[in-house]
Amino acid sequence: MTAFLLRRSLAALVMLLVVGTIIFSLLIIVPGDPAELLLTTGGGTTTPEAVAALRETMGLDQPVLIQYLQFLGDTLRLNFGTSIIDGTEISQAIGLRLPRTLELIAAAAILALAIGIPSGTYAALRAGSAFDVITSGIMALLTSVPVFVVGTLFIYVFAQILKILPAGGYTALSDDPAAHFRALILPAVSVSLNLMAIVFRMTRASVLEMRSHDWVRTATAKGLRRKLVIRRHILRNAMGPVITVVGLQLGILLGSTVLVEFVYNWPGLSGLLVTAVEQRDYPTVRAIILTVAAIFIVINLAIDILYSVLDPRIRLK
């Protein structure tokens, strides 16, 4: 088990390094001078002085190797430098907004699992029933609706017509907990729907598959009560694949928050990101993406470990 943990953690570290390197090298492989590119894309004009100044702030005047080591060192110390637009400390801005994004993701993930797993299980155990057919149909539709479409339609229905929930915005938990959670509902549901559909599908497929394994028959032949057969010998085994898929889909979940935060004006990481992209604030964009990639890798590591607890055979591989 320890060896397994070490191996997985090492792999995650390597992954982080690779991702960091790829993000770093994007600046190196772009044709031409990145500083000039950043200042002129979208048809803008610039002066040699401005380009030189930007090169210096971004450290682009150094040799590549020095730049790379500098980048790695800074990243390790969580020092992402300052925004090239307004000179704010990037780490600080991220530190302020990251918890809000994480809150959104956590709420969405919990919602998706809490609804997706039980409904998927029930649909599989009653495969072919009306419940199965209807729920599967709804879930198939949910996989196809882009998050920002859901978000926009939700605002129209719940905020404009029914006027029961705010159309967006954010209230700090410490200021007004009720308002905080009311503002969280629509964004969290919007982010969760895609994942919920995927969790449902995966749970349904996985439970269906597990149902026909020999050990389920053994458990029934032991005289185990049906409820226990389902819980211990079908569901328990079915969770492994579901968790893996959730891990793989987290990238999409994190991407969804970008759109949902924009739709609902949720002041998380993504608002910062979209503004930074619009303003071509490369250091800020890079820092945010590194942060998100790191979160993603850490969550996946956690899922790997959880999976190995669920299925002891994994540890052998």
């Binding site: 882009p146 269906l208 032991k222 005289g223 991407g255 979209v274």
Partner: protein
């Protein structure tokens, strides 16, 4: 039923939808004469009219034209990017599979890394550098998606190249380029086309998302994401403005996903047939009072099992009657499909729900000495009997234990299901049982997982588990077939020893196609063929002087003298050609007629009855008396 149609029936509808979806936007000039960018401010938010079917937007532009031309942009971006990704990715994958080594590492690892990035974030990073626009989008999306294709092409190519016909053409000296083009590529086309449609749908989602953020397709070129973005501010005045592009976008993605689902089903028609945990309830058709001979532990009377719809149901087994006695081992013998396993599952109340019991009575002596009619027992009642009064071990020890639970957990579970007791005591009992069935270091194994044990050891665990509540009847369904020859002998000895020493009064129903093993262990033999009992009697009588031509054929196909425990997993008969008839295609009269060396015209007339040839021996053959014993 037109077999020449290249497209499966279920693919026709989704294919038509998909074609419509792709063609419609590009037929825009035929549908509307309006320019999607021509503004008419005075008519902003005009309701649908004859000139403007879907009304006009916040700048008075024709909405229908914008939807159609916007569709062109979205579809072009998505399909161009996906095509590039597919071609480049497949090439990478094939190269990786062909050269292996560093290419393999590159191909598979690359996918791992790219999957790490939330795709929309990588897209944003690139947009920061290069600015928004359709070309940037296509470039980003192809880079994002090609590793997935590479990985699939790689894995599939490896799988396909191991197939016989590819090996064969390689052996024949076909150049490798030809092998790839002619054999590998067509065979991996299925998974790749699924990935293609998945990717196209994902690309549309990302394109529209970026355009919605204002970082994708640049105005004034129309795009669905942008239309939703533009109409958001006016959703109160003009809900149509958001509804129409939302519907167009969702419908597009839905149709592609729908097509993809059907394609997946068509290529991999696994389907969920009757799951093993879905059980059909036993019934009883006998009015007779449940009554068992005093030395019997279970009996089956006139059992008939059918499958298929009621109007055209097919008999799987019929007229099966058996009496299983305490301290006796009855062997049920026959080829696969003879109905021997179904008979035993019926006794356990474990028949899959696609099989119905039409007739018969199943009786069991419970430990409290009462006689139980399974057909009159509720599902909960059956749970109480299973494992407690009647237990079963199965053919595949490798899959019969749940891989995620410790062995001890699964044993304790069996004990506690029927005998509530403190955990510690159950643990001690389980360890004792493991020792009894000959597991070394039982205490350590108790905390181990099934995958740490060999097949033979797992079968011992299964036996220990089955005996944990001291049942009256143990059913062993081909318990040694999956094991090595030497291990087989050990397991048989164990069963015999347990019946003698541990479980006094245990009745054993031993299902096998291996007469060598049967002659070792069984007191009585019941031979089944095509759902019916064809011969029955004491082991030495049946095996030494078989009266039914089928039993004789079985004897003839034994590899060696029947004291030899040699067995193959292949239960075909060597001595007679052919295979048993399928239940829906039995010949009239005697079901064995097609393969019987002694068949005469009279055999086709009616199904022979099971007649006594002596007090203890009965045979279902009209020429039983004429059979000369070998």
């Amino acid at each position: 039923m037109n077999m020449s149609l290249p497209i499966p029936k279920r693919m026709v509808f989704p294919s038509i939808l998909l074609i419509l979806l792709i063609v419609t936007p590009f037929a825009a000039p035929l549908i509307t004469g309006d320019d999607p960018t021509a503004m008419a401010i005075p008519q902003r938010f005009a309701a649908p009219s004859f000139e403007h079917w879907l009304g006009q937007d916040e700048f008075g532009r024709d909405r229908l034209a914008r939807i159609l031309y916007g569709g062109q942009v979205s579809l072009t971006v998505a399909f161009v990017a996906t095509t590039i990704a597919a071609v480049v990715g497949t090439l990478f994958g094939l190269i990786g599979a062909y050269f292996r080594g560093p290419f393999e590492f590159f191909t598979t690892r690359l996918a791992d890394v790219v999957v790490c990035f939330p795709p929309i974030l990588l897209a944003l990073l690139v947009v920061t550098l290069f600015g928004p626009g359709a070309v940037t989008l296509i470039a980003v999306l192809s880079v994002l998606y090609f590793p997935a294709f590479a990985r699939i092409a790689f894995a599939e190519a490896l799988r396909v190249s191991a197939l016989d016909f590819v090996e064969a053409s390689r052996a024949l000296g076909t150049p490798s380029r030809r092998i790839v083009l002619r054999t590998v590529l067509p065979n991996i086309a299925g998974p790749l086309s699924i990935q293609y449609s998945l990717t196209a749908a994902a690309a549309i989602t990302i394109e529209s998302g970026l355009s919605f953020l204002g970082l994708g397709v640049v105005p004034p070129a129309p795009s669905w994401g942008q239309m939703i973005r533009g109409a958001r501010a006016f959703m109160n005045q003009e809900p149509l403005g958001i509804l129409i592009p939302c519907i167009a976008l969702t419908l597009t993605i839905y149709i592609i996903n729908f097509f993809c689902d059907r394609l997946r089903d068509a290529l991999d028609p696994k389907g969920a047939q009757g799951a093993k945990d879905a059980i059909s309830q036993p019934v009883t058709t006998s009015q007779k009072a449940p009554d068992l001979p005093s030395d019997a532990v279970a009996s089956v009377r006139d059992l008939r099992l059918v499958t298929g719809p009621a109007s055209q149901s097919v008999d799987l087994i019929a007229d099966v009657s058996l009496t299983l006695r305490a301290n006796e081992c009855t062997a049920l013998v026959g080829e696969s499909g003879s109905g021997k396993s179904l008979t035993s599952l019926a006794l356990m109340g474990l028949l899959p729900d696609v099989i119905r019991q039409e007739n018969g009575q199943l009786l069991l002596r419970s430990k409290s000495d009462g006689v139980v009619d399974l057909g009159k027992t509720t599902a909960q009642g059956l749970e109480k009997l299973r494992g407690n009064d009647i237990a079963m071990i199965f053919q595949e020890p490798m899959t019969s234990l749940n891989p995620v639970h410790k062995i001890g957990f699964q044993m304790v579970e069996a004990i506690l299901a029927h005998r509530p007791m403190p955990k510690d005591q159950a643990r001690n009992e389980a360890i004792e049982l493991l020792e009894l069935v000959g597991i070394n270091e039982a205490a350590r194994r108790f905390d181990g997982y099934p995958h740490e044990l060999s097949g033979g050891m797992r079968q011992r665990v299964m036996i220990a588990m089955a005996l944990s509540c001291q049942p009256k009847l143990l059913i062993a369904d081909e318990p040694t077939t999956a094991l090595d020859v030497t291990i087989q002998a050990e397991v048989i000895e164990l069963l015999q020893r347990l019946q003698r020493e541990y479980a006094d009064g245990l009745g054993l129903l031993f299902i096998s196609h291996n007469l060598g093993i049967v002659s070792e262990i069984a007191d009585r033999v019941v031979v089944m063929y095509s759902g019916k009992i064809v011969e029955e009697g004491p082991t030495d009588v049946v095996l030494n002087a078989p009266k039914h031509p089928y039993t004789r054929a079985l004897m003839g196909s034994m590899p060696a003298a029947h004291t030899d425990l040699h067995s193959s997993r292949n239960d075909r008969l060597a001595a007679i050609s052919g295979t048993p008839p399928l239940p829906m295609a039995r010949p009239s009269g005697c079901a064995f007629r097609d393969r019987c060396p002694m068949a005469i015209a009279a055999c086709a007339e009616h199904i022979p009855s099971l007649d006594n040839v002596s007090d203890v021996h009965s045979v279902r053959c009209i020429r039983a008396d004429e059979v000369v014993t070998a």
